[in-house]
């Protein structure tokens, strides 16, 4: 007889809420704070219903000040609490950059482990939802390049909940990025109660032998479309959802490219300084002699994310990914 875990059909944003709820029920020290997270339930409703369930001491509408939210969360975190701080958009995180860079990410190192800051910073991010200016930035690389921070990005409701649970349980600060485009794009069976999707591990979404496609977040939908049209031409793609941007899943990345010998890396963040470069250097370090073609990248441009009338030009499309697949397979 198999034990069936009850599941619910949830969108990603509902799965995020459920992840917080499960952990808040289990741990009294888990608190949520941010702008509009209380009565309003967050601008994306990610904290919907939490204030009613857990009260105003645990679901806290803060003043409108990102540095203040992160700075006080640091004080709360090193004094026994587990703050989940919401940044309304990743593009609004810049006032808090100093607090994250000079304190949250390095207090453990500065004090050789005496003080730690176990907190989660949640931030919706990415373009493609016709949002106003600044709301669409993908600046994950600012944080993957920040020693002391873990950076993770789910691409579906199941991972969102399981990874958020792991992030909340992590003893160090985690930046939890939520691709806005995926918030309500699909529903998925999500187990009730607590489960973990480990941080630091990528997921293989499709098995293939000809070319590896690396992507994360909202780009997963794009690359799956591209992989499908490649398949129609007989090209089999190994599609890897990176999920964890720091640290990267070195084993799966190496194992996949050593099998396929070809790689296409896709992200909507700017090419220069982006994760693609880090993955290329990882492939260089682990798998140089396996490669049959130069690695291709399909990324956002080294430009500010344009206003939304132009964002479709900026965002990697399935068509551009297909062209990159063709390029590496025809090399």
């Amino acid at each position: 007889m198999t034990t069936l875990v009850d599941t619910k059909k949830l969108t990603m944003v509902q799965a995020v809420t459920d992840g917080m709820r499960v952990m808040m029920k289990e741990h009294e020290n888990v608190i949520v704070l941010g702008e509009d997270v209380g009565q309003n339930g967050g601008v994306f409703r990610a904290t919907d219903g939490l204030v009613a369930e857990f009260g105003e001491n645990r679901v806290i509408d803060t003043p409108l000040a990102e540095s203040g939210i992160i700075g006080t969360s640091i004080g709360l975190a090193m004094n026994g609490f587990k703050p989940i701080a919401e940044m309304q958009f990743l593009g609004f995180i810049y006032p808090a950059f100093n607090q994250i860079m000079t304190h949250a990410s390095r207090i453990r190192a500065r004090t050789l482990g005496h003080f730690t800051v176990p907190m989660v910073i949640r931030a919706p991010f990415g373009a493609g939802v016709r949002a106003p200016e600044i709301h669409s930035d993908s600046v994950e690389a600012l944080f993957t390049g920040m020693p002391g921070m873990k950076v993770v990005v789910p691409s579906n409701p199941y991972d969102a909940k399981g990874m958020l649970v792991s992030a909340i349980e992590d003893p160090d600060p985690v930046l939890f990025l939520e691709p806005m485009r995926c918030y309500r794009s699909t529903k998925m069976d999500v187990p009730e109660g607590k489960y973990n999707v480990p941080l630091g591990k990528a997921a293989r979404l499709q098995e293939g032998s000809d070319v590896t496609i690396f992507a994360y977040g909202a780009m997963i939908e794009v690359v799956m479309k591209a992989a499908k049209s490649a398949e129609e031409k007989g090209i089999k793609c190994d599609v890897i959802d990176l999920r964890s941007l720091y640290p990267l899943d070195k084993e799966m990345i190496a194992e996949s490219v050593q099998k396929t010998g070809r790689a296409v890396i896709v992200h909507e963040a700017p090419g220069t300084g982006g994760l693609g470069e880090t993955i290329m250097s990882l492939i260089n370090d682990t798998s140089f002699l396996y490669m049959k073609a130069p690695i291709e990248r399909v990324t956002g441009f080294d430009t500010p994310v344009p206003m939304f009338a132009l964002e479709d030009h900026y965002l990697p499309s399935a068509d551009r990914v297909v062209q990159a697949i063709n390029k590496v397979t025809q090399f």
Binding site: P63, R108, L112, K150
Partner: protein, 354 residues
């Protein structure tokens, strides 16, 4: 504004009573304790400057002249409270529990210098200006949520009041009624920039008004004024009556750090004059003489024993085992992720360690 926020004083520059409210509590014992702690920190500070000049430690940040502000305020804090210093507040942290050896290690560039003794909630010195006000608010807020009566004290200078984090810290503390004492040491200069260029406000204490909190301005070179008024603020915080902004008006005699020359931006004659007039330790000595608490032999013995204590701490600092390179790698996360682990291994290999 100066009338609304008068500079509170208990004893004047000549060591005479100005406000006798606390006369009953100003015993010979308390006075001698405050004098001892101030002298200890001054001797430490001078040693720090000398060690830097001799190349035995790195850049050092002196506080000479600000002893009353730091010691009076630190003395007002209790067991289990939190302290958030800047890099100029080692008189406060040594009073609250840091060992002299640890403080010297900090200036020798050692991570160990950031670690407080067990049970002492002393945060490492904040370098990014005003950033620590938010940590103090968060830590105090945590105590409030836990239902304790513990409080935080956070130190910062006049320049810090221009930073956004100063205002965010005061605002969050005010909104959440966090038990914090915001202790400003207004020494008149942010490195080289005088306070007149920093703000148009006549006082720093008045900035409390905007946050509906208590603002107190006091003579930061009168250790009694600092001690008793900070104690009142801490008591208010413990009772759930909210945060306080204290402006302690003081002066640093020397440079911002051992890496700059104050004569480039101000007339150092003023520091010379102030040593004779407003000096916090000299003032207490005058008071003790006026009150028949002064004893030359006690003072000479004290100077000698403190000097020995400081020399012993220097020796401990210099004899501390050299740091191991693994400390570069092993404390960034609870567990090293593979990039750090492989960098550590490669570095070990480059040294021929394996």
């Amino acid at each position: 504004m100066e009338k609304l926020f008068p500079k509170m004083q208990i004893i004047n520059e000549n060591g005479e009573w100005n406000d006798e409210t606390y006369r009953g509590e100003i015993t010979e014992e308390l006075t001698k304790e405050l004098y001892t702690k101030m002298l200890r920190s001054r001797l430490f500070d001078r040693k720090g400057v000398n060690l830097q000049r001799q190349g035995r430690i790195g850049t050092y940040v002196p506080f000479e002249g600000q002893e009353a502000s730091q010691i009076g305020s630190a003395m007002a804090m209790g067991e289990g409270d939190w302290m958030f210093p800047t890099y100029r507040d080692h008189a406060a942290t040594m009073t609250f529990g840091h060992s002299l050896k640890t403080l010297f290690l900090y200036w020798k560039g050692r991570q160990e210098g950031c670690i407080p003794p067990k049970g002492k909630n002393i945060f490492p010195p904040a370098v990014p200006i005003a950033s620590q006000l938010l940590h103090a608010t968060g830590a105090a807020w945590a105590e409030k949520l836990k239902g304790t009566d513990r409080a935080s004290i956070v130190y910062f200078g006049d320049g810090a009041t221009s930073e956004g984090d100063f205002h965010e810290g005061l605002n969050f503390a005010s909104v959440f009624n966090a038990p914090v004492v915001f202790f400003n040491q207004n020494n008149g200069f942010a490195i080289s920039v005088p306070i007149e260029k920093q703000m148009k406000s006549k006082t720093i204490a008045q900035k409390a008004v905007a946050y509906e909190m208590e603002g107190v301005r006091l003579d930061g070179n009168d250790v009694f004024a600092v001690y008793f008024h900070t104690r009142t603020a801490v008591e208010r915080a413990r009772k759930g009556e909210g945060p306080t902004l204290i402006e302690a008006v003081t002066w640093r005699y020397g440079a911002h750090t051992t890496a700059d020359d104050p004569s480039k931006y101000r007339n150092q004659e003023e520091s010379v004059n102030r040593r004779e007039t407003t000096d916090p330790i000299l003032r207490l000595e005058r008071f003790m003489k006026n009150e028949n608490m002064w004893d030359e032999k006690w003072a000479a013995d004290l100077q000698e024993s403190l000097t020995l204590e400081i020399e012993a701490a220097v020796k401990e600092m210099e004899e501390a085992q050299a740091p191991h390179y693994k400390d570069v790698f092993d404390h960034v996360f609870a567990e090293n992720p593979w990039p750090i682990e492989s960098q550590k291994e490669a570095y070990a290999h480059s040294r021929g360690d394996r």
